[in-house]
């Protein structure tokens, strides 16, 4: 954890049949229904419908996780992000796959 002074977001990703991942992140990008949407800490409270796509979670240590999701919605307030989707594949390390 290099950047502890940076505000972080508590992320909780849940699929209909199981909790998928929870942890902290500095930035998240989400396939919102009107196009991709990036969320940083201290974003205003928002609730958005999402479509099929890839959720990218950038963790405080710089690692990026990718989750393939089907439709659902996200809600964000006071640096807590909840992603509720129909189905979700386990996170893959995008940095590792890019190398």
């Amino acid at each position: 954890m290099a950047a502890t002074d940076k505000p972080t977001i508590q992320v909780n990703i849940v699929a209909a049949d199981r909790p998928v991942w929870s942890g902290t992140a500095v930035q998240i990008s989400i396939p919102a229904s009107e196009g991709s949407m990036g969320i940083l800490a201290d974003h205003e409270p928002v609730m958005t419908a999402t479509k099929d796509g890839l959720i990218k979670v950038i963790q405080p240590n710089g690692e990026t996780l990718g989750f393939e999701v089907t439709d659902g919605f996200i809600s964000f307030d006071s640096n807590k992000l909840t992603v509720a989707v129909e189905t979700c594949k386990d996170g893959v390390d995008l940095n590792a796959s890019a190398e």
């Binding site: 909780n12 849940v14 699929a15 209909a16 049949d17 199981r18 909790p19 919102a32 229904s33 009107e34 949407m37 205003e44 409270p45 928002v46 609730m47 958005t48 419908a49 439709d71 659902g72 919605f73 809600s75 307030d77 006071s78 909840t82 509720a84 129909e86 189905t87």
Partner: protein, 303 residues
């Protein structure tokens, strides 16, 4: 008194039954842990949806048809959740009994109930009696996945969203079994649609004295579209919850039933063994009497 052979045959068949019951009981108890895990794993999702619906309800006055339907339509849907397989004691029959009384009650109120059934046992029951059933689903009643919940909620929401003149329904009731604990399972009737949204805001305000500040959400793309997305999912996750608690109850009542059956088989074997021993002893006694009697007769002849 029956012959020894007959007793032996009955003991043999009863003890093989006992083995089957015992195996069924063990299978059921191993499945309960699984059913409980599945139910726990689905909880975060339904919590997330519940929170979202709460947030939506506090923000806005919801006039979505899922929450309120302004039409005079006597047709209502009733969904009964039964088991796929038997050997679960009174599980299916108590659901059917409760469903029948609900149907009668709705009839009395001048409504026209339409029946939907999940689980092979319930389906066969109503088919055999020639009752008109609007929709049925079978399979996996002891481990219902998200797919089943999706299928059921889609069909029921379709029926609900249809206007009255096209055969739509105005309410949806679900008859299911609530898993209280391993010994107690309760049949419950739930009115699923229209959704009743209870605001927790007032309770919180009373408790703390100060109304809590609620985050002011922005909705994208629009409030109505988010509602359109979230409310059907809410219904689906509620139905999934019902399916899961029913599955756990089914497994628990199967375990109980099989436990009783094993005990009964053991008692029967004990009783039969006692009778077998008595018969054998009687035969031996009779044989001895005969030998002694005839030896006596021979001795008497010599003298």
């Amino acid at each position: 008194m029956a012959s020894q052979l007959a007793y032996k045959a009955r003991i043999a068949s009863t003890s093989s039954l006992e083995k089957i019951f015992n195996a069924q009981e063990m299978i059921a108890s191993s499945r309960i842990a699984k059913a409980r895990n599945v139910a726990l794993a689905a909880k975060p999702y339904s919590d997330a949806i519940f929170d979202a619906v709460q947030a939506l309800a506090q923000h806005t006055h919801i006039s979505h048809p899922i929450v309120r339907k302004d039409e005079d339509n006597p047709r209502v849907a009733v969904l009964a959740l039964t088991a796929d397989r038997g050997m679960a004691g009174a599980y299916t029959s108590s659901i059917i009994r409760e469903t029948e009384s609900l149907l009668a009650k709705l009839d009395d109120k001048g409504k026209k109930p339409e029946l939907y059934v999940y689980g092979r046992r319930g389906v066969t029951y109503y088919k055999y009696r020639g009752r008109d059933v609007r929709g049925t689903w079978e399979g996996n009643s002891d481990a219902p996945g998200v797919e089943v919940a999706e299928e059921i909620s889609k069909a029921l929401l379709d029926a609900y969203m249809k206007p009255a003149d096209e055969g739509g329904v105005s309410e949806l009731y679900v008859v299911f079994t609530e898993f209280v604990n391993m010994v107690v399972q309760k049949v419950r009737i739930l009115r699923m649609l229209p959704v009743e949204i209870v605001s927790v805001e007032s309770e919180q305000a009373e408790a703390s004295g100060v109304p809590e500040a609620q985050p002011l959400y922005t909705f994208e793309p629009s409030r109505d579209e988010v509602l359109d997305r979230v409310l059907p999912k809410y219904v689906q996750s509620r139905i999934h919850e019902c399916l899961l608690t029913s599955a756990a109850s089914e497994t628990a009542s199967r375990q109980n039933a099989m436990h009783t059956a094993t005990d009964n088989a053991r008692n029967l074997i004990d009783e039969l063994t006692r009778k077998l021993n008595a018969t054998r002893q009687a035969a031996i006694t009779q044989e001895l009497t005969e030998i002694i009697g005839s030896a006596d007769a021979l001795n008497n002849e010599k003298e």
